[in-house]
């Protein structure tokens, strides 16, 4: 089987979806001839033409607002935001219209729009190119929020997001665009809303998503060398949230650590910690610990390593819940 990068898997997911459904269109800045700044839309223009691969004016609210109108017409638009930090101009269209239209129309008009956003840090980028913005969207009712961690999941989650009747914020961990996996790209895998257990273990449950999954896998390896077995949960989708998988694991381990790149305050880790506590306080042997970025604006590239959760910071948290 060929080794496929996440970038290639996403590209293939778009191609697959566009071949399957003529209503699927791709729009965004530089998605046509250039193939997107990360080449996720590479060569789609050649195959599908300018009617289905739209290089738009440089305006993010325009991209999402037009996608809404296109979805009302009956298309399935897949928008590309060039970088996380450039999503903010589209915020009003996302929050006030995209997220609410299904509800406002009493279910008569669902807007099957996917907004792909390369997010997170770790690539030494200039400012506004490394934001973890998931909590803005998990805090907005009506959106699904999906984030893959591997090439195979990137493929099947994007295919499923495009097929989904509801709007999906599809967060792509840009620092993992080039990780490889030996896989056959096929539309299978778990549905949106199901977490996957990346590693089984009995001592601690480690819950994470997107770019932090790889970091946590390394932490699991190191812990295993010390005789600690960690159960690693990759959420895959934050909304809807797979509480069942989380709770089943925590019941078994009695200890949980949540990891994400986003700053801890009001981060999604707080949500998970609270859910665990509310649902099964008595299973817990220790408080749930959150590991994340600091409550600072995303730091300059030369300092991002001290900000991003690394293996040591994850293992410190694991030690903390084990030794409570």
């Amino acid at each position: 089987m060929p080794a496929v990068t996440m970038a290639a898997a996403l590209n293939e997911a778009l191609r697959y979806s566009m071949r399957e459904d003529p209503h699927v269109v791709v729009l965004g800045e530089d998605v046509g001839r250039l193939g997107g700044v990360f080449r996720i839309t590479d060569k789609l223009l050649d195959e599908f033409g300018e009617e289905r691969v739209l290089d738009t004016p440089l305006a993010e609210s325009g991209i999402v607002g037009c996608a809404i109108g296109m979805a009302m017409y009956g298309l399935r638009p897949v928008c590309e935001m060039q970088f996380d930090g450039f999503t903010y101009p589209a915020f009003e269209q996302i929050v006030s219209h995209l997220a609410k239209y299904g509800s406002r129309s009493r279910g008569r008009m669902r807007l099957p729009v996917v907004i792909r956003i390369p997010y997170g840090g770790g690539i030494g980028a200039v400012e506004h190119h490394s934001e973890s913005l998931e909590a803005y969207f998990t805090h907005t009712a009506g959106l699904k929020v999906v984030t893959p961690s591997s090439p195979s999941d990137a493929f099947s989650l994007l295919v499923r997001s495009i097929q989904d009747p509801d709007p999906v914020i599809f967060l792509e961990p840009k620092r993992r665009y080039w990780i490889r996996e030996d896989i056959e790209l096929k539309p299978n895998g778990l549905p949106i809303g199901k977490a996957s257990i990346r590693r089984e273990g009995t001592d601690v449950t480690l819950i994470t998503y997107g770019p932090s999954v790889r970091t946590c896998e390394e932490a699991c390896e190191e812990a295993a060398a010390d005789g600690v077995t960690i159960e690693l949960i990759d959420l895959r989708s934050l909304i809807p949230l797979d509480l069942e998988t989380i709770m089943t694991s925590v019941k078994k381990t009695g200890r949980a650590v949540v990891v994400h790149e986003a700053q801890v305050t009001s981060g999604f880790g707080g949500e998970i910690a609270a859910r665990i506590m509310e649902d099964d306080f008595l299973s817990l042997q220790a408080p749930v610990v959150r590991v994340g970025g600091f409550d600072i604006p995303y730091p300059p590239a030369k300092l991002e390593d001290v900000h991003l959760p690394d293996v040591d910071r994850v293992l410190d948290a694991v030690d903390k819940v084990l030794n409570y």
């Binding site: 305006a59 325009g62 607002g65 037009c66 109108g69 269209q93 299904g102 406002r104 809303g193």
Partner: protein, 370 residues
Amino acid sequence: MSGPRRGVVDPSSVPTETIELLKPDGTLVPDAEYEADLKKDDLLEIYRSMVLARRADSEATNLQRQGELGVYTPLLGQEAAQVGTAYALDEGDWIFPSYREMAMALMRKIDPVDILHMFRGTWHGGMWDPKEHRFALLSVPIATQCLHAAGFGIAAKLDGAKTVALGCFGDGATSEGDFHEGLNFAGVWHAPVVFLCQNNQYAISVPVAKQTAAPTLAVRALGYGFPGVRVDGNDVLACYAVAKEAVRRAREGNGPTLIEAITFRRGPHSTADDVTRYRSDEELKHWEALDPIARFTKYLENEEILTDEFKEAVEAEAKELSAHIRAEMVGAAPRPSHELFEFVYSEPSEILRREEWLLHEELAGREDAE
């Protein structure tokens, strides 16, 4: 030196003329370029639409004053701009309204009750099916619907369809970024979109002179590479003629038009507003004298198109509509609370199901306590 230097685009060269076909006294102004080629039945239907809209509008204002609606945004004075423009559309064309386009909604056979439920607080956006009426839900955030109209038009164009999208907004909206982005996107694709700016002179209290230094709002279309036109928004025939030309252009693949309909909002921005703080009685009187329905009525009477019989029939229909609105709105029950969870997603999530159950228990507990 007179005039701008070479290479300079100068605002002073922008035409400020307003297209007018009916004088305020109801006499027809001959125009070689714009024509309202309407048959007698069309003219009567336009009359009917304006009268019904005015009655539904005043009933809504009354209902708000009596506490039946939380708020209402009256359209009094803007009937011609709405009816004349929308009459130029085909049935299959889509309308993307702001929150003041009840006259257009009525033309799309939307029960005004389904609009007023939004103002009553029964349901956000409205209660109708957008697809059935080709009428999008009300858009409260200003100018955002310009982009929905643009996207819809672009999709129609990509699909090779002949459908036209009409985006409606006010003068204040032209200051928003989404106005710019909507017109720009539509322009780039030469999309079949008509942008109707009802310039009713005030964005709540701020006059249009404070929204822009541009000599007109119509001229802003030039920046997007398509025509802009100013029309007397209280002249229903001119509004129709100008819109018809814009719709024709759009349908034939020649791209968007921005129409600036000069009109006046005779009521408040919303029923929560106090107009005495920002505008004079003289201004109101000036515009009352230009009333769009009175003007059109005079024309129809001069031409002996409008009979007493038809007038009475429309009056009776308006009365009936008014009574229907009142009967449906007064004391209307709220929707069952489980609906709050039902439509958020195509399938409620586990967490939503739980919350719905919690609310159900909470309400049952309250009932027991009573």
